[in-house]
């Protein structure tokens, strides 16, 4: 776990293409812990070799950030489970192959909302599944609405026990939150922002300190420069074989706040040159940074609004800390 964390931090620092986390970092740990031997034999080698692309379907229309409220119906039908309903915000990428979807579904209404949810692995090519792309405000396509109409899922694709899916989902989310800190990438971006802010223009004006760089960004830079404070504590319990717990919630809150502060800092540093939305729009007027990087500044600012919401919103993370760390 610590090795993987170090590897991912260095990848982020080097701007290496990230490993898509849905299989390696999210589905695989779940199957290690909860999967049957047959599930492990079938799926883990394919995840390891990158043969399956995974996505996840938690949120449903009208649930907001409440991951424990699926209304999707599923019922056992002989050797298969049938599933119908609509899901929102699946991290399913259409340019990859969509193969399996670990899904949570509610079998029967129960008094506690987390009960009655089951965790399923679903082949995205199963008849009855319709994927409708949702375009994001940065112009990108990462998430989709996925509709299930009498979808038949083999019973051997149930992970852990029927109705105990929330236990599995919580374990997965702990691993997902490990990915959301992105400390290495934030360190690199801090360097880029400082480069953009401190470089002199042709009349030898620098951004910070001078009129050319607005003052509030100095506070933003201070906020962004302390990711290391939150680093060492959290992979340790995981290294001892425990599931990532409340300490990951701290990393998630702090890491995503830093990411958002950095995108704001870059917007301020690049100023009017952040207006063109793509490199082909001619974003080459800001000479302190590579044009390709300047062209992504506004899109990243828009895209990163999501980080304080996904993987369990930061408000939910604060509740977890209040309950499990502070005993409130």
């Amino acid at each position: 776990m610590v090795q993987r964390y170090i590897f991912e931090e260095e990848c982020g620092y080097a701007a290496a293409p990230p490993l898509i986390p849905f299989g390696l970092a999210m589905c695989a740990p779940v199957l290690f812990k909860f999967g049957t031997d047959a599930q492990k034999r079938r799926f883990l080698p394919r995840i390891y070799r990158g043969e399956d692309f995974w996505c996840q379907g938690y949120s449903e229309p009208g649930s907001g950030s409440d991951l424990a409220s699926p209304a999707n119906g599923g019922r056992p039908a002989g050797r298969t489970l049938r599933r119908h309903g609509a899901e929102d915000l699946d991290d399913a990428r259409t340019h990859g192959r969509l193969d399996l979807l670990p899904g949570a579904h509610r079998r029967a209404h129960s008094t506690k909302k987390q009960e009655g949810i089951s965790f399923l692995l679903i082949d995205m090519k199963t008849p009855g599944i319709t994927v409708r792309p949702l375009m994001l405000m940065d112009g990108g396509h990462e998430v989709n609405e996925v509709f299930f109409d009498e979808v038949r899922v083999p019973a051997e694709n149930l992970v852990f026990e029927e109705g105990k899916g929330w236990t599995v989902a919580k374990y997965l989310l702990g691993h997902e939150r490990m990915n959301t800190g992105r400390i290495g990438a934030s360190k690199r971006e801090l360097g880029e922002a400082q480069g953009a802010g401190c470089a002199r223009n042709q009349r030898r004006q620098t951004a910070p300190g001078g009129r050319a760089f607005p003052r509030p960004t100095v506070a933003g830079r201070d906020r962004a420069s302390r990711p290391r404070d939150h680093e060492p504590a959290f992979p340790r319990p995981a290294a001892r074989g425990r599931a990532p717990g409340a300490e990951v919630s701290m990393l998630k809150i702090k890491g995503t706040e830093i990411q958002q502060a950095l995108t704001e800092l870059m917007m301020q540093a690049v100023g009017p040159f952040a207006q063109p939305f793509a490199a082909e729009d001619g974003a080459d007027g800001f000479d302190a940074l590579d044009a390709a990087l300047v062209a992504t500044v506004a899109a990243r600012y828009c895209n990163y609004r999501k980080t304080s919401i996904y993987a369990g919103s930061n408000e939910i993370q604060r509740n977890i800390i209040a309950k499990r760390v502070l005993d409130l």
Binding site: N201, Q202, Q205, A207, A212, F273, P276, D284, G285
Partner: protein, 196 residues
Amino acid sequence: MNFDYNEEQRLLAASIRRFAEKDYGFDARRKIVAGPEGWSRAVWSTLAELGVLGLPVPAEFGGFGGGAVDLVSVMEMIGEALVVEPVLATVGLGARFVARGGTATQQARLLPAVAGGELILAFAQTERGARYDLAHIAMRARRTSEGYVLDGDKRVVLHAPCAQRLHRLGAHRRASSRRPAASASFSSTPAHRVSP
């Protein structure tokens, strides 16, 4: 100090909000953005009728002679409705620039057309490498018998593709001064090349 809007400012803002709620909802706006021009001439005419386009234009040129605070009350609503039409470029930058610094002839020629919704302006200020430095101007304006000849290029010119006229700041360097003196030049569409 009283920062509240006055009655007139509130009424104007309310009329823009009513227009936005009725005719500029999310779906209507999305259709406009997806259209060939990315903005709507019909909406532009409505904004002229509502008085938005003539707001900073002096009354003698068909406007309302509004000041900065009048414009702020309007721009808040324009922002709230995510209006994509070139209001800031034409009214906030272009028209106010001419109203404050143009000659009487320039004002008479340009401002009534802005107020009537017939003229769209863009303000070409920022140059490559200028960053926040407003005085960073490398473009050269050379006086000839017919007017000015401009050499140089401008970046991130808001709404340049739909503008009929560009205001450009060119520099005449004076031997005695280290700061280039900025001056405005007006040129009409055929004289310049805009690449998106």
